[in-house]
Symmetry: C2
DNA sequence: ACCCTGTGTGGAAGCGCTTGCAGGCGGCGC
DNA sequence: GCGCCGCCTGCAAGCGCTTCCACACAGGGT
């Protein structure tokens, strides 16, 4: 009886009438124990007699009781929220990432709160308002487009941080070896005999903030050098990590006096955009032009795109675990940063082949 | 002075040392007013003298004060969280949706908490545990795979609900007119002269729970009938809403005694999977086979896919607004449900054309 | 028999806010 | 010139939990 207390507040007025559900106090009363015991019993803490625990659990489940996370958080001092800072939601890569992070966080009882840095105000706004303050226990910085000063401002909040996509000294993180991935891609092309290999890269304006494309650029240069090829700046164009940007980039490349015979795009979406433009221009891919991407986007297999595969969801899961571990070990003096490299793999499909001049066999 | 109170708890021990930031009390002391006044001043409530407000705001900003949302929520009785129930994160459609919802919710000061129903335990687990209880102010049900009883269980929690993707009596919601979209797609194909038109649809096992594919199926039948064509069950296969499923479906269709000359896939991803299989089988798209999808996925333009366009991000924004409005108007007796239809549009690209037998002109 | 330990439990003080209520103060109407 | 009404402001009671502490009690050593 008495599920709804007539006492309590005392306001009669227009108090928003959400269907009142049981509080810990209701459970305590029904189970004839104190609220402290209910709290301990339900959370599996020690020092509760088995019989008591059993009774409390039974009563709680009968009453459909669930603890109010808001109250737990306030009292417990832990927000049970992981912040995920990404340039944007809604893009394949970040959606997959979110999905991985969310899966791990949920199991551990954490919520995931996304923050985007490419919306209105961009990363400036983010750094100025630091919107995660008092809202998260830890932060995952994914491809954070911050310079050193901005990064320091974020770190100065004292919120534990892990990073994804690039490594920062003093910050745990995971990333694929972007230079190696690029070498793999370009190496595949040089191995096929290509000598004019273009790069469709990142965002034109802030080359120093977003390290992924610059690492890939370095890998591209390395692979060129390893193959004895010279680097031609005219073959490097930004692609903005979208299909549209990849298409624009390809237009530029095609307009050059001597167009490339192969293109390495820093994402599959850009590669797909580039292929489209090439085909529209009457080129046959891969006979006239080879294209390779990075990611292995869900649909890359279905457009036959040769690419460098990375497991984005897996990275999301792993970086979430890393943050969780980090939150546990706050007190321990950590001797060494954890900088974990994730593997990539070449997946050869049907958009790469030998360059046109030596095309003796039809295709790979 | 005295930013960090030496008094308070009294525990000397290993209290987790997060960098202590200012509380409302610190601000009140510094501004020489009560915490109540600080609260009112900072939230723009009336009945605060302009001079007082100014001073409080100045002090707060100097101290880098931000209110702790956890405490506000507990005290205010509103969680400031919108739940978004989706089958999964990480798929294009739901990522876009999330992105739209998040944008609107953020502006209104709400967080978005995703719940997935196709993870471990699926929707059964969701309905059994009702994990959103005490965590959200309202719920967006996107393509919720619930039967009437499950839906009732969710509604019985008293949490305000809006739906997306299909309409339920008594529940505000938005959706595209899926039957109309399907008619548009199939009408395009019949208009081109096709008479054997296949449908690659939804999930094989629960046809009654997820209304989107069944609505599209009805639209498909309607369009067939309108064109005077008979319905052939052999031409309807499930595709699971993934590129992989679309590919499998196409395999089945191709194995039939008389394969279709056109395919309507209920998503672009399935369409792309289907096209791949058709081309592998030596068919030319669109000469030998026309394929049309639904969505206008980001990359559809770049694979030349003809499709029915819908604005998913816009739907996310709109459904979030709707929920927000709904939360405002709880008390008002709402005469009529809000059931809002969102537009779709045919986008003709290069995967549809006249059927092979009457292919006089090369392509559209 | 005694003290000491360990286990189980309840009381109560918060966590950092919001908000109902009461009270002080000045200005206006009559 | 007095009362009344508003406007500001502060007090204090929560919101529903967690956790520190005190305490009661049972059992083992010496």
């Amino acid at each position: 009886m008495l599920l709804v207390e007539p006492v309590s507040g005392g306001t009669g007025g227009g108090r928003r009438c959400t269907s009142v559900s049981a509080t810990i106090e209701d459970v305590a009363r029904a189970a004839q124990v104190s609220v402290a015991t209910v709290s301990r019993a339900l959370r599996g803490l020690p020092n509760v007699a088995p019989s008591t625990r059993e009774r409390v659990v039974a009563v709680a489940s009968r009453m459909d009781y669930v603890a109010d996370p808001t109250a737990s958080r306030l009292a417990g001092g832990r927000r049970m929220v992981l912040g995920l800072v990404v340039p944007m939601l809604g893009q394949w890569y970040y959606a997959k990432l979110f999905s991985g992070v969310e899966a791990v966080a949920t199991v551990a009882g954490y919520d995931v709160l996304p923050f985007t840095t490419s919306g209105p105000g961009g990363s400036e706004r983010f750094v100025r308002t630091l919107p995660f303050r008092k809202r998260v226990d830890g932060l995952i910085l994914a491809d954070a487009p911050f310079d050193a000063q901005q990064f320091a401002a974020v770190a100065a909040t004292g919120v534990p941080i892990v990073s994804l996509g690039s490594f920062t000294p003093g910050v745990w993180g995971i990333a694929v070896d972007n230079a190696a991935a690029a070498r793999l891609a370009v190496g595949h092309l040089t191995g096929l005999g290509h000598t004019r290999i273009a790069l469709i890269g990142g965002i034109p304006d802030d080359p120093f903030r977003f390290s992924v494309p610059v690492d890939r650029f370095h890998g591209y240069q390395d692979a060129l050098e390893a193959a004895g090829l010279s680097y031609d700046p005219a073959l490097v164009v930004p692609g903005n990590f979208s299909a549209e940007g990849g298409a624009e980039a390809m237009h530029k490349l095609l307009a050059a006096p001597t167009p490339p015979t192969a293109v390495f795009a820093c994402s599959d979406e850009m590669a797909i955009g580039a292929i489209q433009v090439a085909r529209d221009a009457g080129l046959d891919v891969p006979r006239d032009l080879s294209v390779i991407g990075i990611d292995d986007h869900d649909i890359s297999a279905y457009v036959g795109l040769t690419t460098i595969r990375q497991d984005v969801t897996g990275q999301g899961e792993r970086v979430a675990q890393l943050l969780l571990e980090h939150l546990e070990d706050r007190d321990d003096v950590q001797v060494e940063d954890v900088h974990e490299a994730h593997p990539t793999r070449l997946v050869v499909r049907r958009t790469t082949g030998p360059p046109p001049d030596r095309a003796s066999h039809p295709r790979v």
